[in-house]
């Protein structure tokens, strides 16, 4: 069209601002919610011990949301993840407690088991062409039932300490001792400050900024459209401050939790897969227009199958983390987790019709849910009112999304 050619620059710049507004609007909402609860709880929310708890409580939701994002982007849904968490936890507990199998092989077997369960469901969705809602609704019932049958209403535990440390452990503090030897007790932040964790936070923030600058330079050197410098600089400054702030808080308690490292590594991996790898690109194409993707030579069935197998493996990992955290397998472990995971994806900007959604959004979405859970619990708000609030927040987030799309 003629008029498009004329409006090039202004339109492009406007659309970049708008896209960014959506992305950072979500981050802004999270910060506002955190500030609100920090105020309401009288400073408890951001207390080092609570931040640590918050991460421990939400890690498995975030981990599963990464897999759920790929499923939803591909145009499907998985309702069975909560049951898989319970089932894999039960199997792992039985192997460790009843059969005395060492924890490391149990971890491997559990991940494979989760993957196989996901693959089985993926087979019915991708190749037998049964709607994913139905297949995974069935899976949800089957695996919840099997969990109950295995555990027979009992709690199975406790587990070896090494296994527990997956969830309740923290990274070892290697640098504080030498630092203390040099500076003595006059060391900054007191004698119990975990300097290793702080240093990792520092390095992380540095890498984040370096990567951002490299990318921005490269994009602006080419014909690629870039975001305005003010936005870019402000954004990176905020990220760096956040990273440093949280490492400080965590370091002043017990340091970085092991699950945070697992979660962080997986988040980076899935960001890379969705943004830079051909398989990620193809999943987005599949969800955007399945027929067009197929006619472009993409094996859509295999892709759907893989997204489910991947989801299963991540649910298996979550099952281990949950079991390790509770130090026992219980029949109700993972109950209704699927709802938190799916809600995290939609709050994070994924589209129910497929083809749209970002890893960063989903992680933030999961923490929006997590902070609300945590904050309301501290305030002593009843569990049923918590459901009401979370439901309304989910609806509001998606409403804003849809409204922006229709009126943008």
């Amino acid at each position: 069209m003629k008029h498009e050619a004329i409006k090039v620059d202004a339109a492009t710049r406007a659309s970049i601002w708008k896209n960014n507004l959506r992305d950072y609007g979500l981050l802004g909402s999270l910060l506002v919610i955190m500030a609100l609860f920090e105020y309401l709880t009288g400073g408890v929310l951001l207390a080092p011990v609570n931040i640590t708890n918050l991460i421990l409580q939400n890690s498995y939701i975030v981990i599963m949301a990464l897999g759920m994002l790929l499923i939803i982007v591909g145009g499907n849904i998985d309702l069975s993840v909560g049951s898989i968490v319970g089932f894999v936890g039960a199997i792992a507990a039985t192997m460790m407690v009843d059969y005395k199998i060492p924890w490391l092989p149990v971890v491997g077997i559990s991940l494979v088991l989760g993957g196989v369960i996901g693959a089985a469901q993926g087979y019915f969705v991708a190749y037998a062409k049964i709607p994913s809602f139905i297949v995974t609704l069935g899976g949800m019932l089957v695996f919840r039932g099997l969990t109950g049958n295995i555990l027979l209403g009992q709690f199975v535990g406790p587990f070896p300490p090494d296994f527990q440390s997956i969830s309740s452990g923290f990274i070892p503090d290697l640098v504080s001792a030498p630092l203390k030897a040099v500076f003595g007790n006059g060391l900054l932040f007191g004698p119990h400050f975990r300097w290793t964790s702080m240093l990792i936070g520092l390095i992380g923030a540095g890498l984040l900024i370096a990567a951002g600058i490299r990318r921005w330079r490269r994009d602006s050197a080419q014909t690629m459209e870039t975001e305005p410098f003010a936005l870019f600089a402000g954004k990176n400054a905020i990220f760096a401050i956040l990273a440093l702030g949280f490492s400080y808080l965590l370091a002043s308690y017990r340091g970085l939790p092991n699950v945070l490292i697992i979660m962080g590594a997986l988040t980076l991996l899935y960001m890379f897969v969705t943004q830079r790898m051909t398989i990620g690109r193809r999943i987005y194409a599949l969800g955007g227009n399945r027929m067009a993707a197929q006619l472009s030579g993409i094996r859509t069935e295999r892709l759907i199958f893989l997204t489910f197998a991947n989801m299963g493996a991540l649910a298996g990992l979550a099952g281990l983390i949950v079991a390790a955290r509770l130090n026992s397998a219980t029949p109700s472990a993972g109950n209704s987790f699927e709802l938190d995971v799916i809600a995290a994806c939609f709050i994070g900007g994924a589209s129910a019709s497929g083809g749209v959604g970002k890893v960063m959004g989903v992680v933030i979405g999961a923490f929006v849910m997590g902070v609300m859970n945590n904050g309301m619990s501290i305030l002593g708000i009843g569990i049923y009112w918590q459901y009401v609030v979370k439901g309304l927040v989910l609806l509001a987030a998606v409403y804003v999304d849809v409204y922006q799309k229709n009126n943008g």
Binding site: M1, K2, H3, E4, A5, K7, V8, D9, A10, A11, T12, S15, R218, Q222, T223, M224, E225, R276, M277, T278, I279, R281, R282, Y284, A285, G288, N289, M291, A292, A293, Q294, L295, S296, G297, I298, R299, G355, V356
Partner: protein, 511 residues
């Protein structure tokens, strides 16, 4: 004669874009008024203003209809007064019957209980009026596009239409269905129903229209009265594009080489009805540097043939042999077809060709991601360069490679789909209706691309329902009818009459 409709000084803006500038349009009572113009000239926007899709207050100017100034706030306002618009993309519910579709939204009912007898008898009357011999119970999904179009018109008649607006009604119809539709419009004219006909097919409406209004860049250029005598196509085209288009087809000097691709005894069964052959033993070939056309009526099996060849994307029990440069190749999946050098550009670019929510860049590289990646990791820089190259080379009018394909005009969308397959670097391209719904200027550009492909030694197979197009760009033509190739001729010796005669001859021999 008095004007049934006058649109005076209509202007309409979208954020940052002036879509209509001071448009004036007058339609006389009982006339057929054609509106033509390139894509993006503002025809559809104008009709949306008229029908109330864009409510009063969102535009400037006046709409005077049946002697009074009207302020429509939505479509139902304009429909109440008999202004009915039939869109290019038909708005029928596929799994409901004809009768249900015709009365959808205004069912003959008392207290919500539908009077089916009344609905059926009324439907029968309406179907008789539009000349459609189908049961009111027939499901829309089982009808061809031509018949669906007639159902839409019957639906308009049910609403007591006084001004019928047809947006590209013949774009997806074959020649005989188009002719029937235009004849229907003439009958309506006798009954005093005025029509506005938006069309790209100049030769068509010239036969039936009383007046032609030409639009360009959001404004009306001129209205030509042709009730008194015919007018030359060249004259209208000049008015549309604002310049003289001496040639509809770019010049070409074919250099035809050895045999490149061949299928023999290709047979395909219907995907749902086992045992029903849709393609009945087709053999064809294309040489290097050659443009081969497949002519035929809608429903003759051309798309089905193309899609079944392209990795069995259509049908079941596909049998037959395929050869590329004399070597037998495996076309059992789309991946195999692509790997063996085939590409298929679909006739339905919106639902089968593009990921509309994605940008130009991702669409262009989608079929050949390995060309911009290493070990499964996309080199974003190379991808951007590749996309920019095609955007420039094919003159894809857009704000940049990051623009979503959803917001492109039809011609530019088609260029994106073409880019996708050009980047995959196939040996043979099958182009299915490559210029459907595309304006004259963009058509010329697409023909030029096709010529360049042939010149670079590729083989091109073009499927088109527009015979002048096939005659204009092809070297050799196949004629297809009812799943068989019934004739083959060099384009130089072909004519529209000769092709139709071949089809008719076969129909005759079967009866």
């Amino acid at each position: 004669m008095t004007a049934i409709l006058e649109m005076r000084g209509i202007s309409k803006s979208f954020p940052g874009v002036k879509a209509l500038r001071n448009v004036n349009l007058a339609v006389e009572a009982g006339e057929i008024h054609a509106i033509c113009g390139e894509n993006g000239a503002g025809k559809s926007t104008l009709m949306k203003v008229l029908s109330g899709v864009y409510p009063h207050g969102s535009y400037e100017g006046d709409i005077v209809y049946q002697g009074a100034t009207r302020q429509f706030s939505d479509i139902s306002d304009s429909e109440k007064l008999g202004i009915i618009i039939i869109h290019q993309e038909l708005a029928l519910v596929p799994l409901l019957s004809i009768a249900e579709n015709i009365f959808l939204g205004h069912e003959p009912a008392t207290f919500g209980v539908i009077d089916w007898d009344a609905a059926f008898s009324r439907t029968r009357e309406l179907l008789a009026k539009v000349g459609l011999k189908e049961s009111p119970n027939a499901l829309i999904t089982n009808l061809g596009v031509g018949k669906q179009q007639l159902v839409e018109i019957a639906k308009a008649l049910a609403k007591k239409v006084k001004l019928l607006i047809l947006d590209e009604p013949t774009a997806s119809l074959n020649e005989s269905d188009s002719a029937a539709l235009l004849k229907l419009l003439l009958e309506f004219k006798q009954q005093g129903i005025a029509s506005i006909l938006i069309s790209h097919k100049l030769n068509e409406f010239a036969g039936v229209a009383d007046a032609i209004t030409v639009m360009r860049d959001g404004t009306t250029v001129e209205t030509i009265d042709i009730s008194t005598g015919p007018i030359s196509e060249a004259r209208i085209i000049k008015s549309m594009v604002g310049r003289e288009m001496s040639e509809r087809y770019p010049p070409r000097r074919p250099q035809i080489g050895e045999r490149l691709f061949e299928i023999s005894n290709w047979r395909v069964e219907h995907p749902l009805h086992a045992g029903r052959e849709v393609i009945k033993g087709v053999s064809l070939h294309v040489n290097r540097g050659e443009i081969v056309g497949i002519a035929g009526l809608m429903g003759s099996g051309r798309t089905e043939l193309a899609m079944s060849v392209f990795g069995r994307a259509y049908g079941r029990q596909v049998t037959g042999r395929a050869f590329m440069q004399g070597r037998e190749i495996d076309l059992s999946s789309i991946q195999h077809a692509v790997r063996n050098g085939l590409a298929y550009v679909t006739e339905d670019r919106k639902s089968l060709g593009l990921i509309l929510g994605e940008d130009i860049k991702s669409n262009i590289t989608l079929a050949h991601l390995s060309g911009v990646s290493r070990a499964g990791v996309i080199d974003e820089r190379r991808e951007a360069i590749v996309a920019e190259q095609y955007r420039t080379k094919l003159n894809i009018r857009s704000s940049g490679i990051l623009q979503k394909t959803l917001n492109l005009s039809g011609g530019n969308q088609q260029k994106v789909v073409l880019s996708k397959w050009l980047f995959a670097d196939p040996q043979v391209l099958i182009l299915d209706e490559p210029t459907r719904g595309i304006d004259v200027g963009a058509k010329y550009e697409i023909y030029t691309i096709i010529n360049e492909l042939a010149a670079s030694g590729k083989g091109v197979i073009v499927i088109s329902s527009e015979m002048p197009e096939l005659l204009g760009i092809c070297d050799r033509l196949y004629v297809m009818n009812e799943g068989r190739l019934i004739d083959e001729m060099p384009a130089a010796q072909a004519s529209a009459e000769k092709i139709m005669a071949a089809i008719m001859r076969q129909h005759g021999s079967q009866q």
